[in-house]
């Protein structure tokens, strides 16, 4: 892909990923964060973390379905934005919500297992963000790097569970997000399944063609 092509592709992604942040800043500046601003900011950042993470997880399946290469070129950018939103979401919890009251935070973590899940999701994303550079891909080797970056799916599952667990009775958006994740995982599973069957058939055909097979009684 040309440099120009990459820019055309990535510019809207930058704009879309920064828009929620800009909107939050604008709401903050014009006193439109509602009666409970800290809760509103925390929830908004959490929502967008999961949405952008889902978008980054959608790129590979999208490439499979479309038979196109361009979606995969957006994967890293989306993944890094998801990580950035996750960090902001976490920081707001520490700074604005609990104002560095570590004892209370510790208590809350023990009593609210969904916080543990959210933290695990963030921890899972961290090595992926660190190894996201091209240099790191080379250093780790393609195979090891790909294996490591499958953790993105684990992060998605953890984040979706975090949302399902914290959402109160009657809310439904947590299920919509989980459904999208299940769909994305489903596309990959079917793809893996189809490839495995093809590989086995190819292997069987190769075995059938060897002399050792022919010499069997």
């Amino acid at each position: 892909m040309t440099r120009r092509g990459r820019i055309v592709l990535k510019l809207p992604v930058w704009a879309a990923c920064l828009a929620p942040l800009a909107l939050l800043a604008w709401r903050a500046a014009t006193d439109q964060l509602g009666a409970n601003p800290i809760s509103f900011v925390t929830n908004t950042l959490g929502d967008w973390t999961l949405r952008i993470l889902l978008a980054s997880l959608a790129m590979t399946p999208l490439g499979i379905v479309l038979g196109a290469a361009w979606p995969v070129t957006l994967r890293r950018l989306l993944g890094l934005f998801a990580f950035a939103y996750a960090c902001l979401h976490f920081s707001v919890w520490i700074v604005l919500d609990f104002f560095f009251d570590w004892a209370r935070m510790g208590e809350d973590i023990l009593k609210r297992p969904y916080i543990t899940l959210g933290m695990l999701a963030l921890l899972t994303l961290t090595p992926l963000a660190v190894t996201s550079t091209s240099g790191m891909v080379k250093r780790l080797g393609g195979r090891a790097w790909r294996r490591l970056h499958r953790l993105a799916y684990a992060a998605g599952v953890l984040a979706a569970l975090h949302f399902i667990w914290l959402a109160k009775v009657g809310r439904t958006d947590q299920y919509w997000h989980a459904a999208v994740l299940a769909l994305l995982l489903g596309v990959r599973l079917v793809h893996w399944g189809v490839r495995a069957v093809r590989r086995r058939r190819a292997a069987a055909a190769a075995v059938g063609a060897t002399p050792s097979a022919a010499s069997r009684p």
């Binding site: 929620p20 909107l23 709401r27 439109q32 964060l33 509602g34 009666a35 409970n36 800290i38 809760s39 509103f40 929830n43 908004t44 929502d47 949405r51 604005l96 919500d97 609990f98 104002f99 009251d101 209370r104 208590e107 809350d108 009593k111 609210r112 297992p113 969904y114 667990w165 914290l166 109160k168 009775v169 009657g170 809310r171 439904t172 958006d173 299920y175 919509w176 997000h177």
Partner: protein, 315 residues
Amino acid sequence: MLIKRAERFTSNDVTDPALYLSRRELMAGAAAWALLPGASAAALPAPAPLQATRNVGRSLNEPPTKYEHATTYNNFYEFGVDKDDPARLAGSLRPRPWSVRVDGLVQKPKTFDIDELLRLFPLEERVYALRCVEAWSMIIPWIGFPLAALLGRVEPAGSARFVEFTTLLDPEQFPGQRPGFFGSSLDWPYVEGLRLDEALHPLTLVTVGMYGRVLPNQNGAPIRVVVPWKYGFKSAKSIVRIRLVREQPATAWARANPREYGFYSNVNPAVSHPRWSQATERRIGEFRRRTTLPFNGYADQVAALYTGMDLRKHY
């Protein structure tokens, strides 16, 4: 040779309406998914003024939460599960004409018209703390009269042990009562309840107004109860029936999730909600969290109701 095929069917002809309507709902959900939940609520016309004398002895000496916040940040699932749904959608509720049936184990069951109730009992203003189970709180100047006065009129029978409150059931006025894609948020109608001695406690207030005005729709118009030492969901809104019963009522939240919401639901910093701590709360309008007080600060007045009870078990 060119063979033309006539388009005899469209997908509309072969698709069950129920199916494509549910697909539309799915798409609407997907569209909503893309939008940010709005924090802004439309400017609301202020309800009519309502005269009342402040009961200083029963009032906190703290500045009330901003009226704008108390009327735009609400849990009232009959309108929807988001905090701004009640303020946005409350226009569909018609608080007049309205009547409340008070019956069950009473000597003189009676249906009261709302305006009759306003004439029967002298209205007082009481500044109470409101603590939501979601760990936020407000200070609200309510207007109303003690529930004990109303119950006195119907003369509870000796066999009555609990009081059950039922909220209006009408999906036309309450959009949140219409089932969505994943079913209903709660089993309607909303039912809440108190032990008779809790209901007769002088703090338990039948409420018809707030901030010197008639109760706004999103705050439970035209008539609700306020039980300040319990989590907010115990204070039933838009009540159409008050029934005295022998058995403990099956309340809406306890039915939806018995492990998380008990019948008593007294504000108790020592007993956590299974998914969050109740040790602290955020007072709306403040930055730092506050320590939550036992019985929401009303322990000196109500703790005696629970002498000998294990409040960890009866959460």
